[in-house]
């Protein structure tokens, strides 16, 4: 009651100030007049009465002030006055204010952008009910080779999990959404298909808007062909037809019955346009670990029970692939929360970025602390005057803090803007489906984080000046004109050295990543990527399950592409150089010294001109020809890496693999994304090529679920409208087969090195930002010394020192701080950068060219940042500076 009344009064006092003041004035005037009336009535002469009343009241203005001081909301009003004073002070120093705000906006913006990603990946809860009960299973292997990561599972593991782990509701899916062709109306549309097992949507607790989820019947091998549509596809391709359930749609060239539609906004980890039943088995696809697993803890069960059950049933398996090449290893399984499991591979990168952003913030704080320190020292006369006029230390301090907070909040608001733009740019940089989340946005948590770091920043950079002025000696402050305390200069130099040291770390780290990327991009590719255009199409189509139809498609479409004017050569391959290829684990060498040894290699079907089109050099033997047909001798070509690893350099031509497949040639190894041994983003992996014409009907459906073959054409010079003509050529053979996309070899390389490119782009941006901040810091330091010491410089010049000497004398303090920082930074690098070893390829952590480049860049930036402000020394007139005193 009292509080409410006071709040109402406070609002009135603040908002209707003029009216409140007028009423107070009138009230007091009436009081005085009534008192005067009394006295006149008592017989005192009018003028004497008026005088005596004013004396007794003791000053109307003092009474008013006494009322004002006790008014509700007076603190807010004082704060407001301090704020207005602060704004005036900041506007009086536009150089200082703009520097501080720009520094804050950039550093806070960088942090906001990176934190939004951390937030989206790690903090925001997954869009599923009771997401904390969702999990994935990690495999921990201890032994000669240790590993601890999310493994995919095979058909046997899936069946055991489904039937013998009652603590969990589990489901599996094909590892990635795959592109397929959907006939909707007259058009064939290329959509992303997620292949999921029964209960997949139940695990995620997604209830269909129409129809139902996949049941056990649809999920059986050779079960009915059914599909569940996402809300978006249902709206766009089927005009939100409410009677769609039960209708057939033509998918992959076959009718699939729609059994359900997902509700609006529903998503899955696959994030696909439509879903079909996975129909997992123990052989074929399920013979290898090709399924991705998600689990939900059933009500009443605990994760400990679930883990115990998993370990019991999986460790008793008949065939343990985990032990194939690691005999005697200790294997165990445990559950990890879904969110953590999904981002496990991105986590180190994201945290490293957050760390880099934090360093930027520290650098910014060091800069700002230096700047505000100078500003506070410059305001010594003002502060002294306020203290002398009776302001308390607390009031002076409060004024300084209010100005800092004001800067931090305005800078933070600008930082949100910068962060928003930076985040947009960052998301454009990322390939589609790169982040396992549907959206990254600046939500309330991000804004709260930004507010927090803004306030924290102002605390950090405001603390130092506040400490420096805490023991403020009034007498000496009024006595001297301006403080040029050398203790404070040393302090500022230490700040600069600190920020330079952090900058060196960021510069070196980004330098190492740039060198890595350059190394990867300039690796001899083993083929000629120039002048090649590729197009991809999904052959996961019922009509191409038959090998004869598949062969006919390849022959006719390649012939049609050769007829495009300007095309020199054309071919088809299951995968391209720079891409990840199909892994073939079941190859066994059949004869010679190595007979019986198994060879795990990449396997690629190709048409005869694949090597000629990509210009992959044939080292020995022959390439495939049109004479290699399904009914002739099975042939293979291996690459140099294959020959070296499995035949130890001996000539493999004429040797047999897989009983009746004879090696007829050796080609150069091309760089490709590794599928077997991922020690680097690009390697010349052991590869076995076989003729597309000899691909068997039984394997085609399976590999075409996973891989979309590429049509490759080589042109001597750029051909206008090449992609349209390629599409036309394919359509002339099969009008219902669209290309899903066209890629130059540069595009393919960029996609494979996406992670490296993103790392380089982000870390280089951060390092550049740090460099700019450090340059500003050094510049400000030297500029301030010039301003403070102009009298000393004047005296030096008057005493015969040359301008160059004076410049050197002043600039040395900036250069000293920077060199100190450089040395400290290099020392820091030796420890800190060892953590980067796993992301560096082709260079070491202590890379001389990188260190040299960092030293050179920093030295030149330091020189520019110290020379620019000292140029003002030339303009100092000794006579004038001496007269000023």
């Amino acid at each position: 009651m009292q509080l409410l009344s006071r709040v109402r009064s406070a609002l009135r006092n603040l908002l209707r100030k003029r009216q409140v003041e007028a009423q107070l004035d009138e009230e007091l005037r009436a009081y005085a007049e009534m008192m005067t009336d009394e006295r006149i009535a008592a017989g005192v002469p009018a003028s004497e009465a008026r005088r005596s009343v004013l004396v007794e009241i003791g000053g109307v203005e003092q009474v008013k002030q006494a009322v004002r001081d006790r008014r509700a909301g007076v603190r807010i009003e004082l704060l407001w006055q301090d704020l207005r004073y602060g704004v005036r002070q900041l506007r009086r120093n536009p150089g200082f204010t703009v520097t501080v705000l720009a520094t804050l906006a950039l550093s806070i913006g960088a942090n906001t952008a990176i934190f939004s990603i951390v937030n989206a990946l790690m903090l925001r809860s997954l869009p599923y009910p009771h997401a904390e009960r969702l999990g994935v299973i990690f495999t921990r292997i201890r032994g000669p080779i240790t590993s601890d990561e999310r493994h995919h599972v095979n058909g046997e593991q899936w069946e055991l999990l489904r039937d013998e782990v009652p603590a969990l509701l589990s489901a599996v899916s094909g590892a990635r959404p795959t592109g397929v062709n959907l006939q909707a109306g007259p058009h064939v549309q290329y959509v992303f298909q997620g292949r999921v097992s029964q209960r997949y949507f139940d695990v995620l607790a997604v209830q269909p808007l129409l129809g139902r989820n996949f049941s056990e019947i649809e999920d059986r091998p050779h079960g009915p062909k059914t599909a569940v549509l996402s809300y978006g596809l249902w709206r766009s391709a089927f005009a939100a037809n409410p009677n769609i359930v039960g209708q057939p749609v033509l998918l992959k060239g076959e009718p699939y019955t729609v059994i359900g539609v997902l509700p609006e906004g529903a998503t899955t980890p696959l994030n696909a346009d439509l879903y079909t039943a996975l129909q997992p088995t123990r052989d074929g696809e399920g013979g290898g670990t090709n399924f991705e697993l998600i689990t939900r803890l059933r009500d009443g069960a605990t994760w400990q029970e679930a883990d115990a059950q998993i370990n019991r049933v999986w460790l008793a398996r008949s065939s343990r692939y985990e032990l194939h090449d690691k005999p005697g290893a200790q294997v165990s399984y445990y559950t990890v929360p879904l969110q953590q499991g999904q981002i496990a591979t991105l986590r180190p990168q994201v945290l490293a970025l957050m760390l880099a952003a934090g360093l930027i913030l520290l650098i910014a704080c060091a800069n700002l602390a230096g700047l505000t320190l100078v500003r506070v020292l410059r305001r010594t006369p003002e502060v002294a005057t306020r203290l002398a006029l009776g302001a308390s230390h607390w009031q002076v301090q409060r004024q300084l803090w209010i100005e800092n907070l004001l800067l931090a909040l305005v800078g933070g608001a600008a930082g949100v803007g910068v962060g928003f733009v930076a985040l947009r740019g960052l998301l454009l940089l990322l390939p589609q489906h790169f982040l396992p989340v549907t959206g990254v946005s600046l939500d309330a948590r991000v804004l709260a984080f930004t507010l927090l770091i803004s306030v924290l920043t102002s605390m950090l950079f405001g603390m130092l000046p506040a400490l420096a002025t805490r023991r403020f000696d009034l007498r000496s402050a009024i006595g001297t004109r301006m403080s040029t305390d050398s203790g404070h200069l040393a302090l500022r130099q230490v700040l600069i050295a600190g920020e330079v040291a952090l900058t060196v770390v960021l510069l070196t780290a980004s330098g190492l990543l740039i060198r890595t990327l350059v190394h990867l991009e300039t690796l001899p590719p083993g083929f000629n990527p120039a002048g090649v255009m590729t197009a991809r199409a999904s052959l996961d189509e019922a009509r191409y399950h038959d090998a004869a139809a598949f062969r006919e498609l390849l022959n006719e479409s390649i012939a049609a592409m050769r007829r495009i004017p300007g095309v020199e050569n054309a071919a088809v391959g299951l995968s391209l150089p720079y891409e990840r290829a199909l892994n073939e684990g079941g190859l066994v060498i059949s004869d010679g010294k190595e007979a019986g040894q198994s060879a795990m290699a990449a396997a690629v079907y190709v048409t005869p001109d694949y090597f000629a089109t990509l210009q992959i050099p044939l080292l020995d033997g022959r390439a495939f020809t049109d004479a290699d047909r399904p009914n002739t001798q099975r042939v293979a070509i291996v690459n140099r890496a294959f020959a070296q690893k499995f035949f130890h350099g001996a000539n493999p031509i004429g040797r047999h693999i897989d009983k009746d497949m004879v090696i007829v040639g050796i080609v150069e190894s091309v760089e490709m994304a590794p599928g077997i041994d991922p020690t680097a983003p690009l390697t010349g992996e052991e590869t076995l090529y076989f003729p597309a014409a000899q691909a068997e009907s039984r394997m085609l459906p399976m590999i075409h679920v996973w891989f979309q073959p590429s049509w490759i054409v080589r042109t001597a010079r750029p051909v206008e409208g090449l992609t349209a003509q390629m599409q036309h050529a394919l359509a002339s053979v099969d009008p219902d087969l669209p290309f899903s996309g066209f890629y130059s070899m540069g595009d393919v390389l960029a996609k494979t090195l996406a992670m490296q490119r993103i790392e380089v782009a982000l870390l280089s941006t951060m390092a550049a930002l740090a460099l700019v901040l450090s340059a500003v810091g050094i510049f400000a330091l030297v500029a301030n010394i010039v301003a403070q010491k102009s009298r000393e410089i004047g005296i030096r010049i008057a005493l015969g020192s040359s301008i160059q000497q004076a410049m050197l004398h002043i600039g040395a303090s900036g250069a000293r701080a920077a060199s100190l920082g450089l040395i400290a930074g290099l020392v820091l690098c030796t420890g800190a950068l060892r953590a980067m070893r796993s992301v560096l390829y082709g260079i070491g952590v202590y890379d001389a060219p990188t260190v040299l480049a960092v030293v050179l860049v920093l030295a030149s930036v330091t020189i520019v940042a110290t020379i620019l402000p000292t140029l003002r020394i030339a303009g100092i007139d000794p006579a004038q500076t001496l007269r000023e005193e």
Binding site: Q2, S9, A10, E27, A30, D37, E38, G58, A66
Partner: protein, 110 residues
């Protein structure tokens, strides 16, 4: 000006103002005169203490102010007790009586 003025104890001004308004609405000078009369001239409240107290008590919701005409036709701000003011008067009177009794007894004790 009275010659025999006593310094007001902390908190007693509020009680005196509430008491003065207990019999009806008054303007500032009226309150001042009423206190003088009630305490037989022991306490003379000066405007420098009176007005801050009045405004504070009005903001606290114990008093409500309104503009009216004084006995000799001057426009003046009058105050009267609100319901909360009534309760406050009762509360503070009780408190004061307890303190005063205790103090008197303490000073009489030997």
């Amino acid at each position: 000006m009275g010659s025999k003025q006593t310094t007001l104890l902390q908190g007693t001004l509020d009680l005196l103002i509430l008491k003065a308004l207990g019999t009806g609405e008054l303007h500032g000078l009226g309150i001042s005169r009423r206190i003088e009369q009630m305490t037989r001239g022991t306490f003379v409240v000066k405007p420098g203490s009176l007005f801050p107290a009045l405004h504070r008590m009005e903001e606290a919701g114990w008093l409500s102010g309104f503009w009216g005409e004084s006995e000799n036709n001057r426009r003046a701000k009058f105050y009267r007790l609100t319901k909360a003011g009534d309760a406050q008067l009762e509360h503070e009177t009780e408190q004061w009586t307890r303190v005063a009794t205790a103090m008197t007894q303490a000073l009489k004790a030997t």
